[in-house]
């Protein structure tokens, strides 16, 4: 069941899972904006341990403001980073001035 659409504000969860997780630490807890729905894919956390019978999960592309991700001075305000996040790593979040504009 697709939970998000392009434009929605989301927060990346810090699930603390071990193993072959594809959500890098730098993006956990961050708030961004969904830019696209990518469809459903088998969960790499299952595939990595040979489980090909797992449920396919929704995948989204999410954009984040670079100024929010890093403390560095002088990052242009419009620079963004876009990364793919599986549904179970996302929670709905409230609009924030820090999320990139849609």
């Amino acid at each position: 069941m697709k939970r998000f659409s392009a434009g929605d504000i989301v927060q990346v969860l810090a699930l603390g899972k071990t193993g072959h997780v594809r959500i890098p630490h730098y993006i956990r807890n961050q708030i961004g904006r969904v830019t696209a729905y990518c469809g459903t894919y088998l969960n790499p956390e299952d595939l990595a341990v040979g489980n090909t019978a797992g449920r396919a999960v929704d995948l989204y592309r999410v954009a984040f403001a670079q100024t929010q991700l890093w403390p560095d001075e002088g990052i242009p305000h419009h620079d963004t980073l876009v990364i793919e996040i599986y549904d179970h790593w996302l929670a709905p979040a409230k609009e924030t001035p820090n999320a990139p504009r849609s």
């Binding site: 071990t18 890098p24 890093w70 990364i83 996040i85």
Partner: protein
């Protein structure tokens, strides 16, 4: 070599492991020797598989981009469904999806894979060693403008930089802006101007 430490301390083999004796290679060599010894595999089959793996290259990506520059309908199809549009050119695509991201006068795209070495291999071949290096993987998201400057690209602050981390199932191709003399050039001439760096986004102007 025996391991007396936890594997979580380091990652699986990447380019940095250049001592010559690479653990994974020793295992692969031993396995291959056993399989060939038992008649389950021939050395020729192994080299054929390697040749197949290594046959795609930048020429395919360049062909896609030159076509998009010269055919607006194709460009639209490429941007909406990269995989399908690439397959139209009889290029086999093994990736689940290819997302084509377009540079404009106001926007520049940069591709990276912070977790490993994800790359659109069907159309660009194997990634360059710097793309797999831990330095590029970390710095391309942390300080991408500095990385671009080291590649000789001083991106104006007026231009929005979008970094794409191909951390999961999508693969990415940058569609650069066409050269100013697009109309005067043949498809072959256009393809010759396009480099791998343009298609990853560490270069911008095609001249």
């Amino acid at each position: 070599m025996p391991h007396d430490h936890d594997h979580s301390e380091h990652e699986a083999l990447v380019i940095e492991d250049a001592a010559g004796n690479i653990e994974a290679q020793i295992i692969v060599d031993a396995l291959q020797e056993v399989l060939i010894g038992k008649g389950l595999l021939t050395a020729f089959e192994v080299t054929s598989a390697i040749a197949k793996l290594e046959s795609p290259g930048i020429h395919l990506g360049a062909q896609v981009v030159a076509k998009a520059w010269t055919d607006p309908d194709y460009r639209a199809r490429l941007l909406s469904d990269g995989r399908a549009a690439i397959q139209e050119l009889d290029i086999p695509v093994t990736e689940a999806r290819i997302i084509v991201v377009e540079n404009t006068p106001q926007l520049h795209n940069l591709i990276t894979c912070t977790l490993c070495s994800c790359y659109p291999r069907s159309i660009l071949g194997q990634p360059p060693s710097w793309y797999i290096s831990k330095a590029y993987r970390a710095r391309s998201v942390r300080e991408p403008r500095h990385v671009l400057a080291e590649f000789g690209l001083d991106l104006s602050e007026d231009i929005q930089l979008v970094v794409h981390d191909s951390n999961a199932d999508m693969r990415y191709l940058v569609l650069p802006e066409p050269p100013a003399d697009l109309e005067r050039l043949t498809l072959n001439a256009l393809e010759a101007l396009i480099s791998r760096d343009h298609l990853i986004g560490v270069a911008r102007e095609v001249v």
